[in-house]
Subunit: 389 residues, 2 copies
C-alpha cells in the first residue's frame, strides 16, 4: 500500500540499503559467534575481525583511531554515555557544570535537563534567528567548574550547521572537554577530529541507510570517561553487552556507501525545494541557515496554515513529510527548535521538515512542490488564519 | 572455512533464523518510517503497529501486558535499567541496599559492584555446590532499607535454574521488589508473571536465534522506576532512542518460533552429552544441578586437563565449545561461577560449556563425545597434571 509513497522526511534516510543487508548476512548466518578472543576458537576470531574492521571504517570517516571508537545502540546511548560518563569521571574535580545549546536534539537536551534536576548546574546557550550558536555567550558561560560542553554539529530539524571549529577552539583554549552530536551530519559533512579538537562525537547508522539500533561514540584518547553501561568487558571495557557485530558491519558498510556525488545530489534537491517554494508559494519562511545547512535538509514555515493539515493532505497524495522533529511528530507540542530560533507557536505549527536520502530523486522534489502548491492554496482558502482576512 | 564446524557453545543459539530475517525485511525496505504516531502519516502508523504487535508477543510469552514491556538494546541494558532505574526511583526512600546472587551474569554482577563502589550497600547471596541460591541467607539479608533483589532465573554457564517462585514469594512477603535476569531461560523454561510475583524481567533476542542488539525489560505495572536512557519520549517515556522496529519484529518472530518440541529436543541432547561423558570418560564432574537445569546447557569439568587445550583441539576437529562463560572466554581468568559453587581454579580451567540451539542435532552431540574422548585421552597422556602420576 505504500508503493507509491515518496518519503521526504526523516524516513528518507532510514530505509536500509540492500547492500548493507548483504554485508550483514555473513554475520547472521555464517560467522555468528560471539566476538571472543585470542583464546577462543576460529569463528570467534573471525567475528572479532569483522567487528574490528568495522571499527576502523568508522574511525577513519572521523579522522580518528580505531581504539577511539566504541560501538553503542545508537545516538541516544552515545550521547548519554558521553555526557554522563564524563561527568562521572570528573566527579569531585570539576563536576557541577554542563553547557549545551538550546537546539540540541532530545538525547542531549533531556539528558541535560535530567542532570539539572539531579543538582548539576546546566547552562543553555542561545542561538540566533538562523539557529547559529552565540559564541560570545558560550565563552562567557565557561567557568573553572565546567566539566563538559555539548553542542550539536548540525540541527536535526532546521539543518543549521554550527561552526564546530570555532566552538572547539574556544573549548580547547578554556581547557574544557567538548562533545558534539553529529548524528545528522556524519558522512554528509566533513568532521575530522585530527584537525578539529573535539573530544567526543556521537554518530549513528540509521541516518545513512544503515541498520537501526547501532551507533558509535568517538572518544579522543585520554578523555576522562567512566563506563555507563555496566556488565561485561566489551568495547575496551567501556561499554558492556554482547557486541552487535552484524550491526557494526552494517554501519561500516553504510559509511562506505556514502559518496561526495551523493551529497551533492542531496544538496541539489534541497536547494531546488527551497528555491521553488520561496518563489512559487507566498507567505513562506525558511527556517535555519540559508548558507550553513545540512545537504539533506529543508525546513519551511507556510504561514496561515497548519503543518499537520499539510502533512495529512500530502500523505493522501503519496508524499510523506514531517512537522517538527521526528520526536515531536508524536505530539502536537510546538518544536523547541523553532521556538529556540525566536519563532512563535504559529510558525512552529506551520513548519514542514523535508529530508532527502539516497533513494529520492529530483523528480520527487519537483512533484512534492507541485503538490504543496495545491495543498497550501486549498488550505489557505478555508483557513480562519488566512492572510487575506 | 567454517562450513564443517559444529557449534555447541553459546554461538549455537546466536545464529539468526532465516525466518526471523524474512520477518524483519519489510521493516528494512518497505515500512521503514520512524514509529510516529497518531499524528503522523500512514507509514509511520504502520511502523508503530509492527512495533506494538511485537510488544504483545513478548508480553504474552511472559504472561504480562503489552504496556509492561520496554524494548532495549539487549540484556545488559535491560538489567542496567532495571537496577539503576529502581534505585534511582527509590532514592531518599529505601535506596541504599541491593541484593544479588554470587552467580549473576556480568550485567547484574558488575552493575552491583559499580553501585557498591558508589556507596550503595550490596549483599551477594551464596549458592550451594550445585549453584542453587541459599533461600535462608536471602531472607536474612533483606532489611527495611532493601530497595531491590536481583536474582537470575537460570545461570548462563552452569545452567542451574533457581526456584524463582520461592524467591518471589520471599520478596513479596518482605515487600521488596524483585528483578530476574531471564536471558538464558526465556522461552526455554516457563516464567509466567501472572503467577509468579516478579517485578522486573530481563530478556534478550540473541539467545533464541533472534537479532543481536535487541532485548526487553518487563516492568510490572506500578513498579517505581526512573528512565535510565534519557532523550526522546519513546517506550512509554521510559527508554529514549529511535525504536529499532526491525529488531523488535525479529525478536517477536524468534519468540514465536520456539516450540515445546524444540525444547524437548534440546533437553535430549543435553542429557545425552551428560550421560555419555559421565559413563565414557573418567575423572569428570558435572557443574550445576543435575535436575534443575536449562534444557540447552551442559557444563562438565575434565580433571587433569585444561579446558583451553580441549577447546583448541576440538576447534581443529570442527567443534566449537567454550570454557567458562562467553565473557570469560576472552581471558584466562577463572570463572566466577565455578568458583562461586566452591570449585577451585583447576576445576574452573578444566570446565567446558556446551550449549545447544535449534540447528544442532543428536548426531552433533554424539560426534562431539567421540571427539572429546580422544582429545581428553591424548591430553591426559601428556599432561603434567595427570591423575596417574
Amino acid at each position: 500500500m505504500f508503493d507509491k509513497t515518496v518519503y521526504l522526511d526523516n524516513a528518507a534516510s532510514t530505509r536500509l540499503d540492500e547492500r548493507v543487508l548483504e554485508a550483514m548476512k555473513p554475520y547472521f548466518f555464517d560467522t555468528y559467534a560471539v566476538a571472543t578472543s585470542e583464546f577462543g576458537y576460529s569463528m570467534g576470531i573471525e567475528s572479532k575481525e569483522g567487528l574490528e574492521r568495522s571499527r576502523k571504517v568508522i574511525a577513519s570517516a572521523l579522522g580518528g583511531d580505531a581504539n577511539e571508537i566504541v560501538f553503542t545502540s545508537g545516538s541516544t546511548e552515545s550521547s548519554n554515555m558521553a555526557i554522563k560518563g564524563v561527568l562521572s569521571a570528573l566527579k569531585g574535580k570539576k563536576d557541577d557544570h554542563l553547557i549545551v545549546s538550546r537546539l540540541e536534539d532530545f538525547d542531549v537536551l533531556n539528558t541535560a535537563k535530567m542532570l539539572e534536576k539531579q543538582g548539576y548546574k546546566v547552562d543553555f546557550i542561545d542561538v540566533d534567528s538562523e539557529g547559529v550558536l552565540d559564541l560570545e555567550m558560550l565563552k562567557a558561560a565557561i567557568t573553572p567548574q565546567t566539566a563538559l560542553v555539548s553542542i550539536q554539529y548540525a540541527n536535526q530539524e532546521i539543518g543549521t550547521v554550527q561552526d564546530i571549529k570555532a566552538i572547539a577552539d574556544i573549548c580547547k583554549e578554556k581547557e574544557v572537554l567538548l562533545h558534539t552530536d553529529a548524528t545528522h551530519s556524519f558522512t554528509r559533512l566533513p568532521l575530522d577530529v585530527s584537525q578539529i579538537p573535539v573530544d567526543l562525537v556521537t554518530v549513528s547508522a540509521h541516518t545513512i541507510h544503515g541498520p537501526r539500533g547501532v551507533g558509535a561514540l568517538y572518544i579522543r584518547e585520554g578523555t576522562p570517561i567512566n563506563k555507563w553501561m555496566d556488565g561485561g568487558f566489551q568495547e575496551f571495557d567501556l561499554r558492556a553487552g554482547i557486541e552487535n557485530i552484524p550491526g557494526a558491519v552494517g554501519f561500516a558498510t553504510a559509511v562506505e556507501l556514502v559518496t561526495p556525488e551523493e551529497n551533492e545530489q542531496l544538496k541539489a534537491m534541497r536547494d531546488r525545494i527551497i528555491e521553488r517554494v520561496q518563489s512559487e508559494i507566498s507567505h513562506v519562511t525558511l527556517n535555519g541557515s540559508a548558507t550553513s545547512r545540512l545537504p539533506q535538509n529543508a525546513n519551511l514555515t507556510f504561514h496561515y496554515v497548519e503543518g499537520e493539515s499539510i502533512t495529512l493532505h500530502l500523505d493522501m497524495m503519496g508524499f510523506a513529510v514531517s512537522t517538527g522533529s521526528a520526536c515531536f511528530s508524536r505530539s502536537l507540542e510546538a518544536s523547541h527548535v523553532i521556538l529556540g530560533i525566536g519563532g512563535d507557536h504559529e510558525r512552529a505549527h506551520g513548519s514542514l521538515r523535508f529530508s532527502f536520502g539516497r533513494f529520492n530523486t529530483m523528480e520527487d522534489a519537483d512533484a512534492i512542490i507541485d503538490a504543496l502548491k495545491e495543498v497550501v492554496e486549498n488550505l489557505r482558502a478555508i483557513s480562519p488564519l488566512s492572510a487575506d482576512d
